[in-house]
Amino acid sequence: MEARQILALAAKELRDRLRNRWVLAVALVFVVFSLVIAYAGGAQQGAVGLRSIEFTIASLVSLVIYLVPLIALLLGFDAIVGERERGSLDLLLALPITRGELLLGKYLGLAAALALAMLAGLAAVGGVLWQQFGRAGLFHYAGFVGSALLLGLAFLSLAVALSVVARDRTRASGLAIMLWFFFVLVFDLLLLGALVASGGSYGGEAFPYLLLLNPADVFRILNVFSLDDMRSLYGLTSIVPPALANPWLMAVAMLAWIVAPLGLASWRFKP
């Protein structure tokens, strides 16, 4: 692997997203949604406004779980298949670069664009929290932002992997939406359904560990178990074993969700 080539590819991807105002548009979406949800997140409990950093994070967890995977999948689904369909992939692959360098360069460039957009949005809420509560608790918020970035990178990795295996952009976009539905909406329902159907007699102990098979759940555990208030808010203390409460372990699980799809993509992306 040659860093120069990877950086050249990454820089082009990032510049593309900056020039076509993708980063700006997504950053605005994040700013608006995160500010609104941070302010109105407690409405169900009959109050609006910033109550605490913990409650703000609790409100933003749902936003991130719905929005970040979708944005990451839409950003990366055509990374390779798009170039192939347009006809520029052959030109790139005839250059003195490896397929791995092309894949990694594209991924890093897209990751930088996603991170920029997310940080711009989430930093706006961070600024408001700082004004309201001072520095105390910003450490937790920084952890939340970091885990949100990891979640985005994991779904971006999935998107790049499907952009390698998909035959065309249409199929790739369909697969991206299916992945979003599966991980964000269906996966937990399936687990809960299985648990309820079996009356908890089969696999009850394995159930919490199955959550590791979904990066969105890893993100949820990472944030819920990092804060006491949130554990009680979600009422999950009893079902998730203490082993999964280790943030570093969850961070490693999230890193695995970044590396594994990229590894699969690299394996499939052969001449």
Binding site: K12, N20, G87, S88, A94, P96
Partner: protein
């Protein structure tokens, strides 16, 4: 490969430079199978250094697959491909590819980059100094549009920009797939002028084109591909001679002299050996200003001698060599489409 249609191998003079002994491109037993489909079905080919080599074939003949395999984009099912003595894939691929330039059939670049930014991007990936980019743009006549976004480029300008990126880094082997697609006549001439300059610098070029008339005068040798195999290989002239394609002859005569000329040709037909290939083509057809016929190459002098007695009644004689198109249709296993009457 049919041995009787392979020309030129024996005619090649021994090279003085030992390095020149290694072909620029060597293919040995190259196959590419997609299930039951044999896209490329056993190709052995040497393309010499500094040679301009044409690759022609109808759609589905295996041309594109062969191009992609030579570039290392598609792995052969069997066989080996070497560029300048090194395998096109494997550990040394980077050095090999730095010496290669590629212009694909449909040049697709990135609309939001300017022409100069596009070249700088390719230069970084090729490890070529960015300072070369303005000169490369100038070489293809795009210096004036260097800072315009590619989305504002015409198809011909994009093609020229694609050619500029292929020239970055002074490649020793150029692969040009349908290179004149979308170019206007002036740009086509400029393109082939550049190719002539590169040829003078010893650059090896592999060209494919459906516009056979363009290739005819510009390639040193060519291969006619059909059904994944090389059906014919050699220079245009060698293939003409080997294939014994008849010459096209047009005789300009006054209408009153047509019967005399037809009688002369009938006598010639009877005088020639009955087994001579193509002798039936000597039966003339009347045209608006005389006669046209197809004469076996071996009977050309006999034809001229037979026509001599017509003297001044023969207003003009036009003898045309078979074109590359004729050779293509003769070798690619397809019948030539019917010609419009003149």
């Amino acid at each position: 490969m049919r041995a009787d249609f392979v020309a030129g191998a024996a005619a090649a003079a021994p090279p003085a430079d030992p390095a020149a002994d290694t072909p620029a491109i060597r293919l040995r037993g190259v196959h590419k199978h997609y299930g039951a489909l044999h896209a490329v079905d056993g190709i052995d080919l040497d393309i010499r250094r500094g040679e301009v080599f044409g690759l022609i074939g109808h759609n589905g003949a295996g041309k594109s697959t062969l191009f992609k395999m030579m570039l290392g984009l598609v792995a052969p099912t069997a066989g080996q491909i070497h560029i300048a003595g090194a395998p096109v894939s494997g550990r040394g691929f980077r050095a090999v590819r730095r010496g290669i330039g590629y212009l694909p059939e449909n040049v697709v670049l990135w609309d939001n980059l300017s022409g100069l930014e596009t070249l700088r991007f390719f230069a970084r990936l090729k490890d070529v100094p960015a300072a070369e980019c303005p000169a490369a743009l100038d070489r293809v006549g795009l210096a004036h549009a260097a800072n315009r976004p590619v989305r504002e480029y015409s198809k011909g300008m994009r093609q020229r920009l694609g050619f500029a990126q292929a020239l970055l880094g002074a490649p020793q082997v150029l692969f040009l797939d349908e290179p004149t697609t979308g170019l206007d006549p002036q740009a086509i001439r400029a393109f082939y002028d550049t190719l002539a300059t590169l040829r003078g610098q010893g650059v090896t070029m592999v060209l494919s084109s459906h516009i056979l008339a363009e290739l005819q005068a510009r390639v040193d040798r060519l291969a006619v591909l059909s059904a994944g195999r090389v059906q014919a290989l050699g220079s245009v002239q060698q293939l003409r001679e080997l294939h014994e394609l008849p010459l096209a002859v047009a005789l300009r005569l006054a209408p009153t002299d047509l019967p005399a000329a037809e009688a002369t040709l009938a006598t010639l037909r009877q005088a020639l050996p009955a087994g001579l290939p193509g002798v039936a083509g000597l039966a003339p057809q009347r045209t608006a200003d005389g006669l046209q016929l197809h004469c076996p190459r071996a009977a050309k002098m006999a034809l001229l001698q037979a026509l001599a007695p017509l003297g001044p009644r023969l207003l003009d004689v036009l003898i045309t060599e078979p074109s590359l198109e004729d050779l293509f249709f003769a070798n690619a296993g397809h019948t030539r489409p019917p010609q419009e009457p003149r």
